[in-house]
Amino acid sequence: MNNKAILEIRELKKYFPTKRKNVYIKAVDGISFDIEPSDTFGLVGESGSGKSTTAYCTIGMYSISSGRITYTGKDISVPAKKRPLSLKKEIQIVFQDPGTSLNPEHTVGRIISLPLKIHMNLKGSALRDAAVDALDKVELPSDYYYKYPREIGGGEKQLVAIARALAAKPSLVILDEPTSALDVSVQAKIISTLRKLKEDLSLSFLFITHDLSLMRNIATRIAIMYLGKIVEVGPVEVLFSNPLHPYTKMLLSSIPVVTEAEESLKPKQIESKGEIPSPVNIPPGCGFQSRCPFVMSVCKVTDPPIRAISEDHMVKCHLFEGAIKT
């Protein structure tokens, strides 16, 4: 166990009940990972793979079914309602769509003031100054304090959402697809702001996205999720230069790219087929068997455990059964 990790997730499971008895949607089905201080940990996967559920469990929006989440050694496996205020302050979240995550009836100033009131106990002019300061951190002018979300652009709204998340001075920020609703030129601005803030405030990020090219540029470590499980995890350079799991290869080979240099980095031998199955009633064996071009008879019977290929590169696939930790 790594005791310097800022966030440790062990065997996290989140099952949602369905109308039928004893039938569950296994959104997250036993995942473990660590986030170390000043890491940008990327969580990649298709819709329905359980990325956002993992984020919501970590922040405490969902109560977890089983497993353990610890923040700097303190157990936070309880929903946010039962967490102490001092721990809630440390983990903040930025949602995907800034159009719906900001209250349209509140001014930007009021939106940013709320975490300052709750976590910093600020009042009056000190509160106002702190809110303007928070706006200044994300390079928004102070007159935005009086504006409403509808008056500003999509990128600026997301900057407000980031300012709100950072107002409480957290140490871990969860970014749930923060730029997937935005244009590329705006995305570039948000990403560079996030980079700067991470450096200045020594933050750690849990960065969720389906955009692998973006991951390549911002993450330090990446976990690939499929059907509620992590299928491959490793440092970003290793995962992109030596992807092992067939699903990782499939994802990489599906990315539309713009230059020949990029094209040469994509694995060639794999063609994407099939779709992610429903997380209700997952058949026995490996979750990826229905789409895997290398499927073997063992894949249909037993679900492979996640194995270490090298020090910090792990993969969950029967193809690497013989591989031992070096």
């Binding site: 298709e46 244009d183 560079s192 540029n217 539309p256 990029e262 980095l265």
Partner: protein, 336 residues
């Protein structure tokens, strides 16, 4: 040189299936007139796959709706012409438009969930489309064939399926099946894979590409993703604030972008090569209420001169395929 000349002649003799000339479209609003399209010019040859790329609000969908003549009621077509097989769509009457929409051009929309009728099965919807496209006999067979062509598994069962029983990728395939149920000359696809996951996007794009090759179908693909446009199309038009600013063959455009906007866009794109991303392009798309005079990019352009503030640049030729609307390339040589 001789070879280049020969290919130029051959290209000219190839028939343009669609030609949009100096299209200007405005919208009436309470605040005034929104001058959205400002002289859009594009051509699609028979069997050619063309991409129209730009960011949100640059007029891509407006262009597409103008081609289909399904613009909103407050739209005014100020100027220009849209020639489909040498007939002007703008001047066409309702009866000709019906022919156009049922036999000539078909369309795939961004959100397949909204494009499909939730209370009819795929079979019923396909049947309706085939009926109005003039297929009188064996419509069920034709529908099953269409479902098969769009690579939907088990067409017999799909025929009886309602859209809500399908995943997003399957729904988009169903839309493709409907768009291509009868032979068309031109397919308009408006961000057909934006809502789909990357592996599903890959499958849908490959299907579109394959079908358009097999049927010599012309394709106009609208997308905000430079990568998607490059993978699917032969030629790309880059659009900014209601104007076409650059066009080149898809193979070479991103290796040698010329317009400052195209360059800025490419530089802000995250890449697999992990090249450093820039901070994006400063500023934002101008308001269509009173767009800047001259070049519409002048307020964000690092190279803007006095001339750019007054005069709108026409398209300057870089080579046979490559054209750019920027005064930096006026002498045709290219400088930065």
């Amino acid at each position: 040189m001789g070879f280049a000349k020969c290919s130029l002649v051959e290209r000219d003799s190839m028939e343009n299936i669609l030609e949009v000339k100096d299209l200007k479209v405005s919208f009436k609003s309470y605040d005034g007139l929104l001058k959205v399209l400002d002289g859009v010019k594009l051509q699609i040859r028979k069997g050619e796959k063309v991409g129209l790329v730009g960011e949100t609000g640059c007029g891509k969908t407006t262009t597409l709706k103008a081609i289909m003549k399904i613009l909103a009621r407050n739209a005014i077509i100020e100027d220009g012409s849209i020639l489909f097989k040498d007939r002007d769509i703008i001047k066409s009457r309702e009866r000709e438009l019906k022919y156009l929409r049922t036999k000539g051009i078909s369309m795939i929309f961004q959100d397949p969930t909204a494009a499909l009728n939730p209370v009819y099965t795929l079979g019923q919807q396909l049947d309706y489309i085939l009926l109005h496209s003039g297929v009188d006999h064996n419509r069920k067979e034709a529908a099953l064939q269409a479902l098969h062509t769009a690579r939907l598994p088990d067409p017999e069962r799909m025929y009886e399926t309602y859209p809500f029983q399908l995943s997003g990728g399957m729904r988009q395939r169903a839309c493709i099946a409907m768009a291509l149920a009868t032979n068309r000359d031109l397919l308009l696809a408006d961000e057909p894979t934006t809502n789909l996951d990357v592996t599903i996007q890959d499958q849908v794009l490959k299907l579109l590409k394959k079908l358009s090759l097999e049927r010599e179908l012309s394709l106009l693909l609208i997308t905000h993703s430079l990568g998607v446009a490059r993978e699917v199309t032969d030629r790309i038009y880059i659009m900014y604030a209601g104007t076409i600013i650059e066009t080149d063959s898809s193979k070479t455009l991103f290796e040698n972008p010329c317009h400052p906007y195209t360059k800025g866009l490419l530089a802000s794109l995250p890449k697999l090569t992990a090249d450093k991303m820039t901070e994006g392009i400063p500023g934002r798309i101008p308001s269509y209420l009173n767009p800047p005079n001259g070049c519409r990019f002048n307020n964000r352009c690092p190279y803007a001169t006095d001339r750019c503030l007054k005069e709108k640049p026409r398209m300057f030729k870089i080579d046979d395929n490559h054209m750019v609307a920027c005064f930096l390339f006026e002498d045709g040589e290219g400088q930065t």
